[in-house]
Subunit: 111 residues, 2 copies
DNA sequence: TTTACAGTGAACCAAATGGTTCACTGTAAA
DNA sequence: TTTACAGTGAACCATTTGGTTCACTGTAAA
């Protein structure tokens, strides 16, 4: 469960960078090499490699090196945990706003 | 739309810290002052104030200072954008895995 | 067998992050 | 009117982050 917190940390951190979200979008479209990605995002090979490593660390991307090219593709994680976290909090939010709505209704009826 | 990217950045960054997620959970339960939160998370007032500012910046929390105490509560944003982003990518993921499943099925039938 | 190319790792850099202390302001309570 | 308390801002600090360059390895192509 501590483990789980750390993973949420890693995943949300990975998603907090616009370049990395872009890489995920790209990989949703088709697999790509480090060179492909570096070109598309106008960045050094080394720089892109780091981003890919972050995504890989978070389990969002998997890579395989064959010959001299490393191919990146979307990983097996489907963001279930993150979706669940957000959904849970949407419910908290909603509950509170609903309560507010009810209160307002109540006050209205009282007048 | 650039605006939107920046907001996703800010929100995911805000969510990438375990303390800040904890604060959101707490505020889902009940409103709290900076002092309350600082105590609960064993942190300086100043430190907690910074976290709250980050959450406020991302629109996840709103605060109001009356007298000398600043009360924090969940903000009007309900993480719709973030949920949408994640959902969209869950679909991308799923589509790719479904395609893989189909390929496997196809290969099986061929044998 | 050269030569060119994809990636990698180390070293470096500036900026951001997560935290502290300390001095201060403003408000509430005695 | 003291005094205590909640918050704030500035300054500082260590670590992380997002990026670079440069030297290197290994593989593919000529």
């Amino acid at each position: 469960m501590v483990h789980c917190k750390a993973r949420l940390d890693a995943t949300f951190a990975a998603l907090s960078d616009v370049t990395r979200r872009g890489v995920l979008e790209q990989l949703g479209d088709s697999d790509a090499s480090i060179t492909d990605l570096a070109q598309r995002f106008r960045m050094t090979l080394t720089g892109m490699k780091k981003h890919v490593s972050v995504l890989e660390q978070a389990g969002l991307v998997i890579t395989e090196k064959v010959g001299r090219v490393r191919t990146c593709k979307l990983g097996p994680r489907r963001l279930e945990e993150e979706a669940a976290w957000i959904e849970r909090h949407r419910q908290l939010w909603s509950a509170r706003f609903d309560a507010l709505d009810e209160l307002i209704e109540h006050l209205k009826r009282k007048e």
